[in-house]
Amino acid sequence: MELTGSHVLQAPVQKIWDLILNPEFLAKVTPGISRLEQESGDLYKAIAEIKIGPVHGKFEGSAELTDKVEHESFVLKVTQNSKIGNVEADIKMLMKPTENNETELSFDGVANMSGLLARTGNRVMSGVANTLTKQFFSNFEKELQNH
């Protein structure tokens, strides 16, 4: 499944970078993620709960930030395991300043699913991905006002 999205956030790149690298903030804005615990450096333990149509389950796994380019980009590697299947995703996050000192936040990646999740969820997954993307950005905007 391909994951892409892009949105302009009303804050400078510096601020977005700091927020998105704050695990507490990221857990708050990312739909389904209930907790991110730092394990070491840029490696986090991630706990998520997802309900998509007939598929719902509790996921446990890791989220790791790699290939960090300060104030510009990083790659988020997510591995999530659950009893209904596993998800592995590599998502490149990109931050670009706009003319008005705002930030265009975009991401581009691929998620591979296995098990029941792949068998029963696939048909609805891209629709769900769009919904989750919208939620992510709207949560981000909301939280941005508190920071």
């Binding site: 299947g85 029941l116 792949a118 696939n122």
Partner: protein
């Protein structure tokens, strides 16, 4: 012999218990102290198992034990029943198909552990607590991609993923020369889409072990209990065959998928002795999608050459068959002996060559599915015929008439020797097409089509004139072809002292209505009421032997075995009757259930003779008491039903949706015992064949995940997808079996698929649509029409 029942649409006696909810399926059986199994399956298509930790699951309340691949390291896997050799004569590659995987999983759904617990729910919960660490590897699901250099390997020991290659027909050079001489060649690429059988009853097994007698019982939702016993005892578990009883009780549909010996059958049988408790495993629907053997999945390039008058001069085919990760019981036979041997079709094609490569991929095993190989062959031939007709500007019906094998009855005219090993028994191919055209009103149809086009409606007609090989199978022929068994059938006719008759048949019934049609034959042959006959099947302890039910063989082979036993009953009965009537057996006629001295009114009834046989006070010398005979019938040849299917479709120009407006089916299945049951079989087959053409299709993603794993994602045909079928029959009796029957179980699924696709092509030719892959979903059709 009377003719009270044969040829009549007698209502099915078994339906009473089915429609009143009294059918007894494996999952209905509850044994004392029974435990339940759940199989933990691989979520990945290809991965190495790094470790399995069962400690947490084992500690859960209600869990009895957990087995993993380690427990089966020294136990054989489930075997493939047919051996096929490479072109160079070396034996096919037959990888071990272990009961549970030890080191490397090879398709999504491969069994990794079996949890046994007091309830199914506890077993399922405990399976979730098993921690398996995998190293995920790249997977390949397409047979052509699996052959590419560097493709991920299904079995590390086979460095090219080839199971075997094979060829049939005339010398390749002769075929090439014939094609070179052709005035016109039609060349097409085909994908015969993979389908899921989806029997209504999911697979279910119970293993039981009796310590007192050192005896096993396996209850199984199978199409062939004896075959399962043979394969499991001799090839997998090494248990003496006489110590195992296999029962196939009521079975809710098979369509091929329940022919095969599955790992779970051996698992529950083996574990029952380990645990000294009965153990049940029942598949859920999701598991059925993942683990029931799939059907079809061929990728082909086929060329048909014609002379300037439209006569076929040659047929050249290259096919890649996807066999999945392991060789299922019949897997190697389907693309070869059941497919290559049918490429003559109903045409006089003088030169034919099939080059076949069978390939392992990281997918569920592929095996026989209603028609098994014959639908794939029919699809190639019948698509080629309609496309060739279009390309050469000849009417597709006319092109067929030009090329049909002339009528032959197999008695006055010999059988027809094909270029691909088989000899057809009898056939009249033009008769079914003539009748089909008549029912369709073909002459008027062309005007209607022209008019519809003027009104913007895309109306199309498609033909299919199929042949199949049924009555599987003459042992000598299949033995020479490499079957590791002879496909005869057994029948015991036991006349009880009161003249009631119990018939033990090796043909298993799982929807075919044997309990009715077999009883019709017996009742008429013995001249007794239908209610006096009981058909018993599916239990290896009561039935002598059976090769099972598949390949439309039950009546042709199993029914013929019954007839043989009846002949023995009547022969002995005549001796008893002659003794009682004080005459010679030669002076007796048998009719309407009694023996009569010729030219007199002196007679004795069947019941009296039966009683005499069991109370032999006044009895011929040197004759044993009793009236009970067994027979084994090994057919002389396959039977060759054929027919003509015509589809009329309308394609929605705006959406690409295909609606079947009419479907005409004229089938010749030889003599018919019960027309209603034959009609039902044809209807069911048509629905499945049409389903493959328009709706059904398995899709794996690039990682080998089955993305069509539910009924939301895998479309089954429903009543509103189908028109009212217009069916008729022609009768060309089979010349080599006593009933003259040919078999009707698969015909519908074989003929219908290309007819529908041809009709859609016919409706859209003028928009530049030349080929489409099945299933013909609205999206695919719309894209093709709009060149997007």
């Amino acid at each position: 012999m009377s003719n009270k029942y044969i040829g009549q649409s007698v209502k099915r006696v078994e339906d009473k218990r089915f429609i009143t909810g009294q059918g007894r399926y494996t999952d209905d059986i509850v044994l004392p102290r029974m435990v339940h199994a759940y199989i933990l399956r691989s979520p990945y298509a290809h991965a190495r198992i790094k470790s399995i930790d069962t400690s947490e699951a084992l500690a859960m309340k209600g869990v009895v034990t957990i087995y993993t691949g380690k427990d089966f390291e020294n136990i054989n896997g489930v075997p493939c029943g047919w051996q096929v050799n490479f072109k160079d004569g070396t034996t096919m590659r037959e990888p071990k198909h272990p009961l549970l995987v030890l080191d490397k999983v090879k398709h999504a759904g491969d069994g990794v552990a079996m949890v046994v617990a007091e309830t199914k729910e506890i077993a399922a919960d405990a399976a979730e607590a098993i921690n398996v660490k995998y190293e995920v590897l790249k997977a390949v699901t397409n047979p052509k991609e699996a052959l590419a250099p560097g493709a991920p390997l299904v079995h590390d020991e086979y460095p090219d993923n080839v199971a075997f290659d094979w060829q049939i027909g005339n010398d390749k050079a002769e075929v090439d020369a014939a094609m070179a001489s052709a005035h016109h060649i039609t060349k097409l690429d085909f994908t015969n889409n993979r389908v899921v059988p989806n029997a209504m009853e999911p697979r279910s097994y119970i293993g039981d072990y009796d310590t007192a007698y050192d005896r096993y019982t396996l209850y199984t939702s199978t199409q062939n209990p004896h075959l399962i016993r043979l394969l499991m005892c001799a090839f997998v578990l090494g248990i003496p065959e006489h110590k195992v009883r296999v029962v196939g009780p009521d079975v809710g549909g098979g369509f091929g998928s329940k022919i095969y010996h599955y790992t779970e059958e051996a698992l529950v049988t083996w574990a029952a002795k380990q645990l000294r408790r009965p153990i049940k495993w029942t598949s859920d629907r999701s598991e059925a999608f993942l683990t029931d053997a799939h059907g079809r999945d061929h990728v082909s390039t086929a060329e048909m050459g014609f002379d300037k008058d439209g006569h076929i001069v040659g047929l050249r085919i290259k096919t890649y068959a996807n066999l999945g990760a392991y060789l299922s019981t019949f897997a190697s036979a389907v693309p070869t002996y059941l497919h290559g041997t049918l490429l003559q079709g109903v045409y006089t094609t003088p030169k034919i060559h099939l080059d076949m490569t069978c390939v392992f991929t990281h997918t569920t095993a592929v095996d026989a599915y209603r028609g098994a190989g014959r639908p794939e062959a029919t699809y190639l031939l019948e698509r080629l015929m309609d496309v060739s007709a279009h390309e050469m500007g000849i009417d597709p019906a006319e092109l067929r008439f030009k090329n049909f094998i002339p009528p032959f009855d197999g008695v006055n005219q010999p059988g027809y020797q094909t270029q691909v090993a088989l000899q057809y028994d009898s056939g009249n191919y033009k008769a079914v097409l003539e009748r089909g055209l008549e029912m369709l009103g073909y002459a008027d149809f062309k005007e209607k089509q022209a008019e519809a086009r003027k009104n913007g409606k895309l109306l199309g007609v498609g033909f299919s004139t199929y042949i199949e090989a049924c009555g599987i199978a003459p042992s000598a022929v299949v033995g020479a072809l490499g079957a590791r068994a002879g496909l005869f059938e057994s029948a015991q006719v036991r006349v009880q002292p009161t003249g009631k008759v119990s018939v033990y048949t090796g043909s298993h019934s799982h929807g075919q209505g044997h309990e009715t049609s077999f009883a019709q034959v017996v009742a008429d042959k013995l001249g007794i009421p239908l209610a006096d006959v009981e058909i018993i099947h599916g239990d290896s302890d009561s039935v002598a032997f059976g090769m099972g039910t598949y390949g439309s063989r039950s009546l042709a082979v199993g029914g013929s075995a019954i007839v043989k036993s009846i002949e023995k009953v009547l022969e002995k009965g005549a001796k008893i009757a002659a003794h009682k009537l004080e005459c010679s057996a030669d002076d007796l006629d048998f009719a309407d259930g009694k023996w009569t001295v010729k030219g007199t009114d002196k007679s004795i009834g069947f019941g009296d003779v039966a009683l005499t046989a069991y109370v032999p006070h006044v009895y011929p010398a040197n004759l044993e008491p009793g009236l009970d005979f067994s027979s084994f019938y090994d057919p002389a040849n396959f039977t060759y039903p054929f027919g003509c299917h015509i589809a009329v479709v309308e394609v929605d120009a705006e959406t690409g949706k295909v609606t079947i407006k009419r479907f005409v089916a004229v089938d010749d299945v030889g003599n018919v015992i019960n027309p209603m049951i034959v009609e039902g079989q044809i209807h069911g087959g048509l629905a499945q064949g049409i389903g493959q053409a328009l709706l059904e299709g398995v899709i794996y993603d690039e990682n080998g995940q089955l993305t069509t794993g539910t009924f939301m994602d895998y479309a089954m045909p429903r009543a509103d997808d189908l028109p009212m079928f217009e069916t008729d029959r022609k009768t060309t009796p089979c010349p080599h079996n006593p009933l003259g029957v040919k078999g009707a179980g698969e015909a519908g699924a074989i003929g219908s698929t290309p007819a529908v696709v041809n009709a859609v092509m016919n409706a859209t030719w003028h928009l530049g649509v030349s080929d489409l892959e099945m299933p013909l979903t609205p999206q695919r059709v719309w894209r093709a029409m709009n060149h997007k």
